[in-house]
Amino acid sequence: MLLAVWLSIGTAAADSRQLVLVASAQNPAPTLTSIETRMLFLGYTVSRDGRALRPVRNVSSPLLNDVFLQHVVAMSQASFDRRTLVATLQKGRSPPVEISTAPGVLRRLTGDPLAVSYMWLTDVQAHPELKVLRVLWVE
């Protein structure tokens, strides 16, 4: 009986999707807190070893975007757009780069050691050149 419960939990965990914060294995940040993650995508400077990290929006699927807005920055698309526009106008801070394909996000992360983005855990596991900074959401 216990074995059956354990197996069913294990299967559910394996089936559930996890959204993770990722960066190149060369990235100087071992991890980021949830507040730092939010600040990074809202236009504040978040640094490691004196180097500012660069946020990359992964908009390769509507679900991914919805989860990011709801669980990472906790605001609507319109509010997020307004916040990033105002940050650009006020502080001269470049808004997060938006990339609409998963391969494009991978290329950006592997090519820029300071870039930080998010994707499904299953998409990260096949890429040892990337590392997970934190789990953002579990389905």
Binding site: T45, S76, A78, R83, V86, Q90, G92, S94, P95
Partner: protein, 364 residues
């Protein structure tokens, strides 16, 4: 096309057009960011016009913003080209002293203006078509200096309780007073006369560091060169000493936004023994509410007191005693909006009504 579009500043427009982001193809290099705000609007009046800038019934405008933050240094340039003017509104070179502390040098929007420092020239970023008159640009009938040339320090202080203070300090040269309006210095145009100092500060408190709810204090002192003929009646009136204190509360939410602001401005003609300190108050209350189908309704009331008792205000064109504004904005898509706005304004010469329509967008 008007002649001032041929000024040297227009070369920047050409640079903008010719700048090709494809050249920055290395993903490891921080690229310049190009943002363009464009808008077209029309206005119909029933009564006198509110500001000289409203001389055209159909206006089109492009606000070209370049930002570049490669490491410790940062560049910000904002160039506006419209059917009425072409001007480098901001040109700032910044040095990031510490994370989230930047020292800028150049021409900037002074931080003690609530509206100008928040939305700058990004028409799409603000919900209403019009700005409150007290916070409007100098050449659009605004009541206070908006542009300084000099140094600007921006810093963010976070507390252990999850609060945040944004502090901005500006020191530079103040605009001058000419008949009808304030006139800021232009970066490239040669200026006749003295450049007088101005100081401004803005302290904004965020109870939750990551939310937008905020309250703050605005302070400024400006020595405004007096070139207005109507203020030359007495000798030695070389400039106006202006001290402004303001307070504001800004409460945004997912369903709307409420902004309340009040300024107290004291003006004194310098080098005139016994010259009175003349005070006026100006403020506004604005509310916005989200409606279905990506629409947003808004309203604003503006009040300015003691216009008749202020020599400074009497040199400016069309200062409104009160203004009621109501409008509806429809976000047609994520990057485009249509807005209709009606206003009733009470001027010293009588009331005036206006109706505006605007299309605004941001690229990308």
């Amino acid at each position: 096309m008007r002649h001032y579009l041929m000024r040297p500043t227009s070369c920047l427009f050409a640079i903008w057009t010719l700048s090709c982001p494809v050249a920055w193809s290395d993903p490891g290099v921080a690229k310049p960011n190009f943002t363009t705000f464009i808008s077209a609007d029309t206005v119909a009046y029933d009564g006198p016009r509110l500001a000289p800038a409203d001389s055209d019934d159909l206006r089109a405008s492009g606000d070209f913003l370049v930002t570049w933050d490669p490491g410790k240094f940062r560049l910000l340039a904002e160039f506006v080209a419209s059917t009425e003017e072409a001007e480098m509104e901001r040109l700032q070179l910044g040095w990031e002293l510490t994370p989230n502390t930047i020292l800028w040098v150049g021409r900037f929007h002074q931080p003690a203006s609530f509206w100008g420092y928040l939305y700058h020239h990004g028409q799409f970023a603000q919900t209403p078509i019009t700005k409150p008159q007290v916070d409007d640009w100098e050449d659009s009938g605004g009541l206070l200096p908006q542009h300084f040339e000099g140094l600007l320090l921006d810093t963010v202080l976070s507390t252990s309780r999850g609060q945040r203070f944004d502090i901005s300090l500006g020191i530079g040269t103040a605009p001058k007073l000419v008949d009808g309006k304030l006139e800021p210095f232009e970066l490239i145009k040669r200026h006749q006369g003295a450049k007088l100092p101005a100081y401004s500060a803005r302290v904004t408190w965020y109870p939750d560091a990551l939310q937008e709810l905020s309250a703050g204090v605005l302070l400024s002192h400006a020595e405004i060169e007096n070139n207005a003929a109507s203020l030359q009646l007495l000798p030695n009136r070389t400039h106006v000493d202006q001290n402004v204190i303001g307070v504001f509360v800004d409460y945004p939410s997912e369903n709307g936004r409420v902004t309340a602001l009040a300024y107290r401005a004291q003006n004194q003609l310098s080098e005139v023994p016994g010259a009175p300190k003349q005070v006026f108050w100006s403020g506004y209350l604005q509310g916005e509410r989200e409606l279905p189908h990506a629409t947003r309704v808004y309203g604003r009331i503006e009040l300015t007191s003691n216009i008749g008792g202020s020599d400074y205000l009497r040199t400016l064109d069309s200062v409104a005693r009160s203004r009621l504004v109501a409008g509806l904005r429809w976000d047609v898509s994520r990057k485009q909006a249509l807005t209709i706005e009606a206003a009733r304004t009470r001027l010293a010469t009588g009331p005036t009504n206006e109706l505006r329509l605007q299309w605004s967008a941001v690229i990308p």
